[in-house]
Each structure stands twice: as structure tokens, then as C-alpha cells.
């Protein structure tokens, strides 16, 4: 299996605060990698470094390399907007564009990239909604507002929106923490379907979710990556004591 993303000696700061310390980590193509750790351990910051979202925060700083398909995304002359199109992101709270219809939400990224042909847009909207397992529920209401949907549907709409611009990698930052258990299991099933075509990274507080969906798990603590390994190994027999203490609920 090929490494899709290779992170080398990554450090990140908010002002003087050193929040990520020398992270080295590889993400395999067509696999789900989960990042777990207590609040404030740097896991969200870490995935925001993977699509150049960290630098949009004032006073944020970063060093090290992030190679996607062998190319450094922090190389001079790289357009962060291009990077973010290749590396989609789904956030904790579903955030469909509130004034837009379901259709326009999904088509927004393509329109922004200059696609005007209605037939191309129609096809992309339908395909993305199908991939996001939402099509059957909304196909007759494409002109309704995105925010008229339930929370779980809104999250799948956001996933469809991320898929429409044909990314290769999708980052999920606590995608289910605002959802009920049934919507959560739909998103989890969807992630497992999506890994056939995409490389997925998920940050989650929910260890059972990490155990259920991911192939690999990385444990972060206070800005450092403590342990990385096969998910089964991490949850059955972790090598590091602090990983064990965290996943067995002895702290965190």
C-alpha cells in the first residue's frame, strides 16, 4: 500500500505556544487513519496543517514538510486553494451554506472553479449526493434550503459538497460529535464506502468510533505523537503506557 501523505518533522505554533512537536507520520492510500487524544493534544491543529488551514489563523506558524503524492504542499508557489480542493475537509458542526439550496451547496465548489455547463453540474451534484448516501433522501427537494435538512443529512450534504470538487483526500474533524447515533452510523458506513476511492483521516474524541472505522490509529498527547499503529493493535495491545492509560479511561 502506498503512502498518500507523508508528514516529516512537522511543528506548529500559535504565537509562542508550541502546539505540535516534531510529528512524523504517513497516511496510506485508500485507508482510514484515526487520530485520537485528549482535548488540547493538537489533533485538530494537526489535520488543519494537512490542507494548509492552520496558517489562516492569525499568528499561526508551521515548520516541516507535508508531502502529498510526493509533493510538498508548503513548497513556494503552491496555491493553498488548489491544495484545499485536493484535500477536502468536513467539520464538527454541519455547515451548509445557509442561503443556498441543496443543489447549490453541492455545486458551489465547481461554480467557484468556473464550471457553468448545467449538464456537468447536474451530473456532479447527483453523483456527489449518491456517493454521500444522501441522493435518495433529497432527489425531489434539490431546491430546498440546505439548512432544512436534519443534522445528519446536513453533514452528509457537507460531505457531498467536499466530494463534488473531486478531492483525493478527505479530512474529518469530529464529523459525528453533533449527530445522533443513527446519523453517526450512517456517516461511519459512508466513510468505509469512501475509502475505496479516497484517503481518509478522521479526528475523533470517540474511541469506539476510531476503533470501528479506522485501519490505523495515531495517539497524540500534549502536541506529540505518542504511538501509531494498526487500529486493532492499538486497541488490543498498545505499546506505550500513556496510550493504554488513555484508551482504558485512566485519564483524559
Amino acid at each position: 500500500m502506498q503512502n498518500k501523505i507523508t508528514v516529516e518533522a512537522l511543528n506548529a505554533w500559535f504565537g509562542a505556544k508550541h502546539v505540535l512537536k516534531n510529528i512524523n507520520l504517513c497516511f496510506q492510500e485508500n485507508r482510514i487513519t484515526a487520530i485520537i487524544g485528549p482535548s488540547g493534544c493538537g489533533k485538530s491543529t494537526f489535520i488543519r496543517c494537512l490542507n494548509r488551514m492552520h496558517e489562516v489563523v492569525p499568528h499561526a506558524k508551521i515548520s516541516g514538510t507535508v508531502l502529498v503524492d510526493g509533493r510538498d504542499i508548503y513548497e513556494n508557489g503552491t496555491d493553498p486553494v488548489d491544495i484545499r480542493r485536493c484535500i477536502g475537509m468536513v467539520f464538527q458542526k454541519p455547515n451548509p451554506f445557509p442561503t443556498m439550496s441543496i443543489y447549490d451547496n453541492v455545486a458551489a465548489g465547481l461554480k467557484l472553479n468556473g464550471v457553468k455547463d448545467k449538464r456537468i453540474l447536474d451530473k456532479a451534484v447527483e453523483e456527489s449526493l449518491k456517493k454521500a448516501a444522501l441522493w435518495d433522501e433529497v432527489k425531489n427537494d434539490l431546491n430546498k434550503s440546505g439548512v432544512s435538512l436534519s443534522g445528519g443529512q446536513q453533514q452528509r450534504l457537507c460531505i457531498a459538497r467536499a466530494l463534488a470538487v473531486e478531492p483525493r483526500i478527505i479530512l474529518f474533524d469530529e464529523p459525528c460529535s453533533a449527530l445522533d447515533p443513527i446519523s453517526t452510523s450512517k456517516i461511519e458506513d459512508l466513510m468505509i464506502d469512501l475509502k475505496e476511492k479516497y484517503t481518509l483521516v478522521i479526528v475523533t474524541h470517540n474511541m469506539q468510533q476510531a476503533a470501528r472505522v479506522s485501519d490505523f490509529t495515531a495517539f497524540f498527547l500534549m502536541g506529540e505523537m505518542i504511538e501509531f499503529g494498526d487500529t486493532k493493535q492499538i486497541f488490543k495491545n498498545p505499546k506505550e503506557k500513556s496510550t493504554e492509560d488513555y484508551i482504558t479511561g485512566r485519564f483524559g
Binding site: 476503533a211 486497541f235 488490543k236 482504558t248 483524559g252
Partner: protein, 217 residues
């Protein structure tokens, strides 16, 4: 510490498993004493103890299932619970075998044994020590103790072989001794099996602590 209730339940699970180990050890001890001393009342006590061991077996198993269903245990907790589920099967079998020995006490109580019992009580002692040390290794997560304890199964096996050969000689020499000698052969065989179960206890402890599956003997 987070998840206080959960950790209390894990401690209780461990305590009940230890209690079951203690009962199994006492059952082995008393069954062989009852045989040696031809003490039917003590044999009845061992037979009664089997019910206590069985009921502990069920309650420990129920606690394991509740923890798995409700608490999603991970890592060493998960391995502890899976080991406990195996340990209680071995302890329950040890209790059953002690009961079988007690039944033989009742069957042989009316006439003296064909010979004074020496090696059978010796086998019983080693088995008791094995169960005892395996349970200490379980309590303290002591892999070294588990490995050392498992080795003693060789002594039990050697004694079994010796007892069996000796009893065959008695049977060849005098067919009237066959009934008693075959009963005693069965007792030795049950103790040999108890040694094997004690060896399994040690293997479960090694898995619990290290995550490695090992064949210790």
C-alpha cells in the same frame, strides 16, 4: 481517575476470580485428604463446594459480559476480561475434577486402600501450589511467576506415570486389587488433568499481561 465505576467493577471482577481460584484449590486439597483419610463427610463437603464454584463461574461470566456490553473495555482491560473468561472455565473444570475424586472417596471408603497413599497426595500438593501461584500471577500480572508455575506440570505428569505403573503392578499381582487400583488410577488421572488446567491458567495470565499467546507446556 476517569470512569470510576468502571474501574471499581474491574477490581470486583478480579476479586471474584481470585475467590473462585481459592475455592478450586481448597476443593482439590480436601478431595485428596478425604480420599486418603477415607473421610466421607469431607467428600460431601467437596461435592457441595462444586455448586459454589459453579455459581461464582456464572456470576463472573455475567460480569464479563456486562463489562463488554456496557463499557467497551480496551487494551489491558479487554485482555484481562478475555483471560478471565478462559480462567473461569479452567477453574470450573478443576472443581468438577475435585468432585470426581470426592465421589471416588465415597466409593472406596468401606475398605482400606491397597497401599498407603503417598504419590497421589504429592500430586495434589503440586497442583494446589500451581493453582495458588497461577492466581497470584494473575493478581499481580507476574509473567515470570506464570511461566515458572507452568513448568511444574512436568512434575505432575511424571508422578502420574509413576503412580499408574505402580498400580498396574498391583493389579497384575493380585486381581482382587483391581477395583481399588483402578479407582486410584482415575484419581491420579484427574490430578494430572488438574495440572493441565493449572498450566492453562498460567497461559491465560501471560496473554493478559503481554498479549502473546503461548503454549507453556
Amino acid at each position: 481517575m476517569a470512569r470510576e465505576q468502571y474501574h471499581k467493577e474491574l477490581i470486583k471482577l478480579k476479586e471474584n476470580t481470585l475467590k473462585m481460584g481459592e475455592l478450586a484449590k481448597i476443593a482439590v486439597r480436601d478431595s485428596v485428604i478425604s480420599l486418603k483419610e477415607q473421610n466421607v463427610a469431607l467428600a460431601e463437603k467437596v461435592i457441595g463446594m462444586d455448586k459454589d464454584i459453579d455459581s461464582l463461574d456464572h456470576s463472573v461470566e455475567d460480569s464479563c459480559l456486562a463489562l463488554l456490553a456496557l463499557q467497551q473495555p480496551m487494551a489491558r482491560d479487554l485482555r484481562m476480561i478475555s483471560s478471565v473468561l478462559r480462567i473461569i472455565i479452567d477453574l470450573e473444570r478443576i472443581g468438577d475434577l475435585a468432585l470426581e475424586i470426592a465421589v471416588i472417596t465415597k466409593l472406596t471408603a468401606n475398605e482400606p486402600h491397597i497401599k498407603p497413599l503417598v504419590d497421589i497426595p504429592r500430586m495434589s500438593e503440586i497442583c494446589q501450589e500451581m493453582i495458588h501461584n497461577a492466581m497470584i500471577a494473575f493478581e499481580t500480572s507476574d509473567v515470570e511467576l506464570a511461566r515458572k508455575t507452568a513448568k511444574r506440570d512436568d512434575e505432575v505428569d511424571a508422578l502420574f506415570d509413576q503412580v499408574r505403573r505402580e498400580l498396574i503392578t498391583f493389579m497384575i499381582e493380585d486381581p482382587r486389587k483391581i477395583t481399588n487400583a483402578s479407582h486410584l488410577t482415575f484419581v491420579a488421572r484427574y490430578l494430572e488433568r488438574i495440572g493441565d488446567h493449572a498450566n492453562n491458567l498460567c497461559e491465560s495470565v501471560v496473554f493478559m499481561v503481554t498479549g502473546e499467546r503461548v503454549e507453556l507446556n
